[in-house]
């Protein structure tokens, strides 16, 4: 199947899925109740306690067990979850959340404002790497007004706050189980207790995780399904065969090789959707290590490399047509995206010219590949070829996942692949890769290339706390322009991780975090 045919196919199936999801258009299809669903989770999560661990697989499974105050639709608009409604004060500094009535934890204890305050103010502030910086630098206080009302007061306006209450970013944790304990050593971590539509039943390590319907779920009539089995099948080709034989109902995003996506989605009763990743908007790029000096520290050289790389080929051939070419640091799915930036097409002549003008003398550059499977290796090879064609002396460096993590964390590379979630808002998911205060060792998610530009620092800082969306947009438009010209990293792809599923599974993906929001509304025909 050619890539354009595949795209057409994708467009058709996603359009159909959208049709099925739109409540006004669907001819009153009453969901069936009962049944079980078998879903692939890859790799096996280390634990299911979502407050303590936010690995991809953990979030996928635990999103059924835990809930947060809000959910988000695919346009990133907040929707009620454990918060029934919310109000933002006119000065954008006070957020008041009204909680749902009659919510209980899986052990029967009531869920109240005390749990919310404990989760946001104590538990997550101590252990959660995404909530901690918000809580510590933006939040003035979090207080209980009454059993069903919580007030968050900010030090200054902070627009991204409303997007921070996704279940992976701020899951509600039961106070009566964790308060006063050593969180990471709490034996309850092995038997997670949440408020979600499904309860933890059993985890056969190496085989499956079994969740069962929460009979006392606060939203009456939900969930529709009785059971979820998350199956652990370590080999991608075997996962594909398991789906083909009907053993598996859902292949979650990224669980089969890209070249299998087209084939599997053509099978009878097989649907595919790229929705449900809007909040994450995974953005892939190459990070040149500017701190090392030499050609990589030269803007012209980096621009030259941008022109040298056939990004279209990477998307269409290496990634089987999945995804979209990025224009700059902010994904087109993320808020405050602007297309008004300098663009880079595939132009070898221009690349050579810029590289020559930069004074490059053939210094060797090692490209550190991401050890996440075949497709990443092929991508590294394609880009190596492109850069070689433009006269850059490149070689590929390979390692395993811990090796990559260590090298990327410690700046021990010339140029490395990386991809990161944008988390809906540039303040939380984008600024971290470009601001000079985040040139840190120890993790690979900061400004690993050590790009320094005081103007960019200031624009990002101002934009995070600007009082209105229009004021923020203006600042982000400006910063995108500067960054696209400076090329601190070489943006390659807005990635798509399609979910492949049996078409008789309905209403599977209906939020900006897709299956990570759990199978509350899903049902089987």
């Amino acid at each position: 199947m050619t890539s354009s045919a595949f795209r057409r196919h994708l467009a058709v199936t996603t359009a159909l899925a959208a049709f099925a999801l739109a409540p006004s258009m669907a001819p009153a299809q009453t969901p069936n109740t009962g049944g079980s669903i078998h879903v692939v989770v890859q790799p096996e999560p280390p634990m299911l306690m979502q407050g303590l661990n936010q690995n991809g697989p953990t979030n996928m499974v635990a999103g059924n067990i835990y809930e947060s105050l809000l959910r988000y639709d695919e346009k990133l608009n907040p929707k009620p979850s454990l918060a029934k409604s919310w109000e933002i004060s006119p000065d954008s500094k006070v957020y008041t959340f009204k909680l749902q009535d009659g919510v209980t934890w899986h052990d029967g204890k009531p869920f109240t404002a005390d749990d919310v305050v404990f989760s946001l103010d104590k538990f997550l502030r101590e252990v959660h790497p995404r909530w901690r910086p918000i809580a510590n630098s933006q939040v003035e206080k979090i207080e209980k007004i009454d059993d069903l009302t919580v007030k968050i007061t900010l030090k200054q306006p902070f627009g991204p706050l409303i997007l921070s209450q996704e279940v992976g970013g701020a899951p509600m944790i039961p106070k009566h189980i964790y308060d006063g304990t050593d969180y990471r050593a709490n034996p309850a971590n092995n038997t997670p207790i949440g408020t979600g539509p499904f309860k933890f039943k059993e985890w056969k390590k190496g085989s499956y995780i079994h969740l069962v319907k929460n009979e006392n779920y606060w939203q009456k009539g939900k969930p529709n399904l009785d059971e979820i089995y998350w199956e652990i099948i370590p080999d991608a080709a075997a996962r594909a065969v398991a789906y083909e034989t009907g053993k598996i109902d859902v292949l979650t995003g990224g669980s089969v090789d890209v070249y299998d996506v087209a084939r599997l989605s053509k099978l009878p009763n097989s649907c595919v959707t790229t929705k449900g990743w809007e909040m994450f908007a995974p953005h892939a790029w190459l990070t040149p290590n500017i701190a090392k000096g030499g050609p990589l520290a030269n803007k012209q050289f980096r621009q030259g490399m941008m022109f040298a790389i056939d990004r279209e080929f990477g998307k269409d051939v290496v990634w089987g047509g999945l995804g979209k070419l990025p224009t700059g640091p902010i994904s087109s799915k993320t808020k405050f995206y602007s297309a008004d930036v300098p663009k880079y097409s595939y132009d070898v002549a221009k690349a050579k010219e810029l590289i020559k003008a930069s004074g490059y003398k053939g210094e060797p550059i090692k490209l550190l590949a991401l050890p996440y499977g075949e497709v990443w290796s092929r991508w590294a090879e394609a880009i190596k070829q492109n850069l070689t064609d433009a006269g850059v002396n490149v070689s590929i460096e390979t390692t395993d996942v811990p090796g990559w993590t260590q090298k990327a964390s410690n700046g021990d590379f010339d140029m490395t692949f990386n991809y990161l979630y944008q988390l809906g808002d540039p303040a939380t998911g984008v600024a971290r890769n470009y601001i000079s205060t985040n040139i840190v060792k120890g993790n690979p998610f900061g400004n690993q290339g050590a790009y320094v530009n005081p103007e960019v620092d200031k624009l990002f800082a101002d934009a995070a706390t600007a009082p209105s969306d229009s004021a923020r947009q203006e600042l982000y438009t400006k910063v995108q322009k500067i960054l696209a010209d400076d090329v601190p990293v070489l943006w390659q792809l807005e990635m798509d991780f399609p979910t492949i599923y049996r078409c008789n599974v309905k209403n599977l993906v209906n939020s900006a975090i897709g299956v990570n929001d759990g199978f509350r509304d899903a049902w089987k025909e």
Binding site: S36, H38, P43, E44, P46, M47, N53, Q54, N55, G56, V127, P129, R130, R132, P133, R184, A185, N189, N190, K204, K205, G206, S207, Y208, H210, E227, Y229, E231, I232, I233, P234, D235, A237, A238, V241, A242, E244, T245, K247, T399, D400, V401, P402, G403, T405, Q406, K407, S409, L420, Y421, V440, G442, N443, P444, F445
Partner: protein
């Protein structure tokens, strides 16, 4: 040399070897880049210095390396294999959890390959040069040379997907809640593909070894004598040739048996078999030191144990051998 003396000597040596292996393992895995805290944080897509610090402390990585070594050795002296903070479980329980699946797979593959290999090898030797010999020799060469993962995937596509005879992955039907005999049958059904795939390679090895060894012994003087005194070819083949020819096969079987607990990483991965091989491989990728060291230790203990056992079996197969000599 009596048996008791032999055994105690070998056991003391075995313990020393195990100790040396344990210390070596400890340093070996720390030589690999990255550590469990960094990996765990690295998978999360967000991390800060405080998180890493919390994790390192939890994993005991803040202690000086000598202290870490001492804690590890001290634990092993008291049969405590440590705790996996990543999985929030004691290593011993993680290993024991996976043991039945692994023993079932490797054990089944062991029995099948040994029985099939000896019979095929003996048959081929008796018909040396005929078409059945060529068939057996060619087949074992093919199975010996073909990569395991390729056979595994192809067998899934043919027998699970195209023919629908057997499930392609897993240990049992998930969600079926079988008990008793029904469960045993279900597990057996799931076992067929992985056990055969894993067994094929060893079948080939045993068959080739048995054939070569039989042919060599068949030319020996005592075989001629046996034939000369009028014994039937069947008896000569069984009692004189096969029994003498089996020693190299026993050696090889001893080696394979030593790996019973180590599991079979490839087979377990491709067939999603929840065994120790996968536990070890995952632990390696995650730098989950305590689990890795635990599995290494159990496997090396098995190898040492089976080496001693193999020597004992030599004595039974051929009483002339002075064990320990």
């Amino acid at each position: 040399m009596n048996l008791l003396h032999f055994l105690s000597g070998r056991l003391v040596k075995g313990v020393l070897v195990l100790f040396a292996i344990a210390v070596l393992n400890f340093f070996l895995i720390r030589a690999a880049p990255g550590d469990p805290a960094q990996v765990l944080a690295g998978e999360a897509g967000a991390a800060d210095a405080q998180l890493l610090e919390q994790l390192r402390q939890r994993f005991g990585l803040n202690e000086p390396i000598t202290t870490q070594l001492w804690i590890y050795i001290k634990g092993y002296m008291t049969f405590d294999l440590g705790f996996s903070y990543r999985q929030q479980q004691p290593v011993l329980s993680l290993v024991l959890d996976r043991l039945p699946a692994t023993l079932l797979l490797t054990g089944a593959a062991f029995v099948v390959s040994l029985a099939l290999g000896i019979v095929m090898g003996a048959l081929a030797a008796r018909r040396a040069g005929r078409w059945s010999d060529s068939l057996i020799t060619t087949l074992s060469l093919v199975f010996y040379a073909t990569p395991l993962f390729w056979i595994a995937l192809m067998s899934q596509i043919v027998f699970s997907l195209k023919l629908g005879l057997v499930p392609n992955v897993g240990y049992e039907t998930i969600g079926a809640n079988n008990t008793g005999l029904a469960r045993a049958l279900d597990i057996g059904h799931h076992l067929i593909l992985p056990a055969l795939t894993l067994g094929l390679f060893f079948t080939a090895l045993y068959a080739r070894m048995m054939r070569a060894s039989m042919l060599e012994v068949a030319g020996a003087d005592f075989v001629k004598t046996a034939r000369a005194k009028g014994l039937s070819p069947g008896i000569v083949s069984r009692r004189h040739v096969a029994r003498n020819a089996i020693l190299p096969v026993v050696t090889l079987a001893g080696l394979q048996a030593g790996q019973l607990v180590g599991g079979a990483v490839l087979t377990e991965t491709v067939f999603a078999w929840p065994g120790i091989g996968r536990l070890m491989f995952d632990a390696l990728v995650q730098r989950d030191y305590s689990v890795l060291l635990g599995v290494f230790f159990m496997s090396s203990a098995m190898v040492v144990g089976f080496n001693i056992l193999t020597d004992l079996v030599y004595r039974i197969a051929d009483p002339r051998i002075e064990a320990g000599a």
